[in-house]
């Protein structure tokens, strides 16, 4: 089991009545009414400090991602974040997990090939190359990409980036969305033929297939707990089998909100309001924006409309309170023992190899976040880390940081 710490870099101090006064946390919230640039600078630096603290506490990887025009998590450039983190974690066995630069929003996409190669060089070969499709809010609404072109742009960019990394000779790229007469990447990655590729997703059928077909790690970014995710994850494992791949659990990444305190009671006291803040304010988005027309292909759209589980989960968020989020395990929160048990349950049921934990949630202040990180890596992580090590190697992890599977070690 590999455990990475994810950070969204959210606005931590939205007003109490935010979701009543404003129509959305994404795309439209007015910066000048809601934020202050100096304070935002503090958020970025807290984010760095929290991720670096996680790395020092033993996190196997640290993750940043890309979102635009929002208070939910605003790192428009995850590679700026990753660059600082790569340097600051020099000498630690910690992967720089970029989850990452959005392929359809970057033009020309070799910019991502270049920046990821820079990060791989700076980090000494510790990069995990996330290749997100991007949300409709980010890519279609903020960055103007035509929804129906998003997946096709993504696929072309993916192919171009991999070719730019692996081709020994300069080549011409005559794509539908990108034409380049001479691609000759500088720098090249330390990791050869290329860094491991992770594809984040939220259950779209076509993304499951894409990850399996290309032998990449599929990362289910779930906010609705692992019970709600079970159906999508089972579908993923059946797709993996269908495409003739092995059932290596490291093919699957899973994101889980986790908060730890000394006791269950203390955990509720420490974290309840921050969890509610996250679900009530951080995910305050008109549900139909998640499915802007054309963003999903026809099959995914049909599946989503006939089984509107995610949409229903979104629309019912405001009615739920901490106890509901706890009960449905949207958040795994409690004493170290409680969190260990529930995470073991999650990992076993979903067959997750690459667990990502969100240890800063919503409005959590810096000190509380550091406490959560410390308790998690001291009291929880050691108990779940050995999972899968008897049999499987994480082929989706930088080779220089990989543990050997026990079978191979003894062989």
């Amino acid at each position: 089991m590999y455990i990475s710490t994810f950070h969204l870099m959210p606005h931590r101090e939205l007003p109490d009545d935010f979701e009543k006064r404003y129509s959305s946390v994404w795309v439209t919230p007015p910066f000048h009414e809601l934020a202050d640039a100096k304070r935002v600078g503090q958020y970025y630096n807290w984010t760095f400090d929290e991720l670096i603290a996680a790395a020092k506490a033993g996190s196997d990887g640290i993750c940043t991602n890309e979102h635009h025009q929002n208070a939910y998590g605003f790192m428009p450039s995850p590679n700026l974040m990753g660059s600082v983190l790569a340097r600051a974690t020099d000498g630690l066995d910690c992967a720089i997990v970029q989850m990452g630069a959005s392929l359809p929003a970057t033009q020309p996409p070799i910019r991502i090939a270049e920046e990821y190669a820079m990060l791989d060089c700076i980090s000494g070969g510790r990069l995990v190359a996330g290749m997100p499709l991007g949300t409709p809010m980010d890519i279609n609404m903020c960055y103007g990409v035509t929804p129906m072109e998003q997946r096709e742009r993504y696929r072309e960019a993916h192919d171009l980036i991999l070719k730019a990394w692996t081709s020994r000779e300069p080549f011409a790229w005559n794509g539908k969305y990108t034409q380049l007469g001479m691609v000759n990447l500088w720098p090249r990655c330390i990791q050869q033929p290329h860094p491991p590729v992770w594809i984040p997703g939220s259950g779209s059928t076509s993304t499951l297939y894409y990850a399996a077909q290309h032998n990449h790690c599929y990362c289910f970014l779930s906010y609705f707990g692992y019970q709600a995710a079970l159906r999508s994850v089972e579908k993923y494992w059946s797709v993996v089998q269908e495409t003739g791949r092995d059932l290596n659990p490291y093919r699957l990444g899973f994101l889980q909100l986790v908060t730890v305190a000394e006791t269950d009671e203390q955990a509720e006291k420490d974290y309840a309001k921050h969890v509610e803040y996250f679900y009530h304010k951080g995910l305050h988005v008109p549900p139909e924006w998640m499915g802007v027309p054309g963003h999903q292909d026809y099959q995914s759209l049909s599946n989503a409309m006939r089984n509107p589980m995610i949409a229903n989960a979104f629309t019912s968020l405001k009615e739920k309170r901490f106890k509901d989020f706890l009960k449905d395990r949207y958040v795994i929160c409690g004493s170290p023992a409680t969190v260990r048990d529930q995470l073991k349950d999650l990992v076993g049921k979903l067959k997750v190899g690459n667990l990502m934990v969100l240890l800063h949630i919503g409005s959590m202040p810096h000190e509380l976040t550091l406490k959560n990180i410390d308790l998690f890596f001291r009291e929880v992580a050691p108990a779940i880390r050995p999972t899968w090590d008897d049999k499987w190697e994480n082929q989706w992890w930088p080779a220089g940081l990989r543990k050997k599977a026990a079978q191979e070690v003894t062989a």
Binding site: N140, T146, P147, M148, P308
Partner: protein
């Protein structure tokens, strides 16, 4: 009333076989539907009493063929694709009636090759842009609650109830997919250069607009009229963005009068 029949032609290097709804008899007219997809309604029924109405479904929106849209990438492709359909139907020069998105396409067809379009009826067209009265992006409006406010003069009336009253997953899939397939040519702002080409339109042109259109405000009628030589505006009172649905008989009578 004549029920429309489905007619198929194969075009675009034999990659697309659009479904074309055809009804009536008499001189031909083409109807190009709006972003929500083709619905054969009372307006088209009435039109079919004196004309042969050809109503092609936008590529991708025909049942069973959602991926047809993947063969057309740009507005240029779409314009040439329609000329091929006209060729296949034997329509050398034909009146075109378009609604909203379909009206923008109709205007592009008339501007690209004036010889193919004998008369032009633009009902609440998109295609131009004014910063002071931006066209609302219909693709990001909540369908159940907010869309009726932008589409209909009376968002709580019987038409709204009929269109949006009962949740219907299959209907929603059709509408959302249709918006995606049409949105491919206009996202995120429906100004794709028509203003540079619109002066080429030679067909006599009727601009029909709902007086209470909140999606594309009627001020746009002047924008179109001032750019299309000899065009005429007719405003429909008590109508929003869907005048053919809100006042089918009146709109059909106006169109017929213009075509006669």
């Amino acid at each position: 009333m004549t029920a429309p029949t489905d007619h198929h032609v194969t075009v675009w290097q034999e990659k697309i076989t659009p479904n074309i709804k055809v009804a009536g008899s008499g001189s031909p007219v083409v109807f190009l539907h709006g972003a929500g997809g083709l619905v054969w309604d009372a307006f088209l029924d009435q039109l079919a009493e004196r004309h042969t109405v050809y109503a092609p479904e936008h590529p991708g929106t025909s049942v069973g063929d959602p991926d047809a849209i993947s063969h057309l990438d740009s507005l240029w492709d779409l314009v040439l694709y329609y000329y091929e359909i006209f060729d296949a139907l034997g329509l050398k020069s034909v009146p075109i009636i378009g609604h909203s998105f379909g009206a923008m396409v109709a205007a592009e067809l008339a501007a690209s090759n004036p010889e193919r379009v004998s008369k032009l009826v633009l009902i609440s067209p998109i295609g131009l842009w004014r910063e002071d009265i931006p066209v609302v992006n219909w693709m990001i409006i909540t369908p159940g609650s907010d869309l009726p406010k932008y589409l209909l003069r009376d968002p709580d009336g019987p038409i709204a109830k009929q269109m949006f009253g009962t949740p219907d997953p299959e209907g929603m899939i059709r509408m959302i997919w249709s918006m995606g397939c049409t949105g491919k040519f206009v996202w995120p702002i429906p100004d794709k250069g028509l203003k540079k080409r619109i002066h080429r339109i030679q067909a006599p042109t009727l601009l029909l607009w709902g007086k209470q259109d909140r999606l594309v405000p009627p001020a746009y009628a002047e924008e179109f009229a001032s750019r299309i030589p000899g065009s005429r505006i007719e405003l429909i009172d008590e109508a929003g963005h869907l005048p053919t649905v809100e006042h089918p008989a009146q709109v059909a009578a106006s169109v017929e009068g213009f075509l006669a």
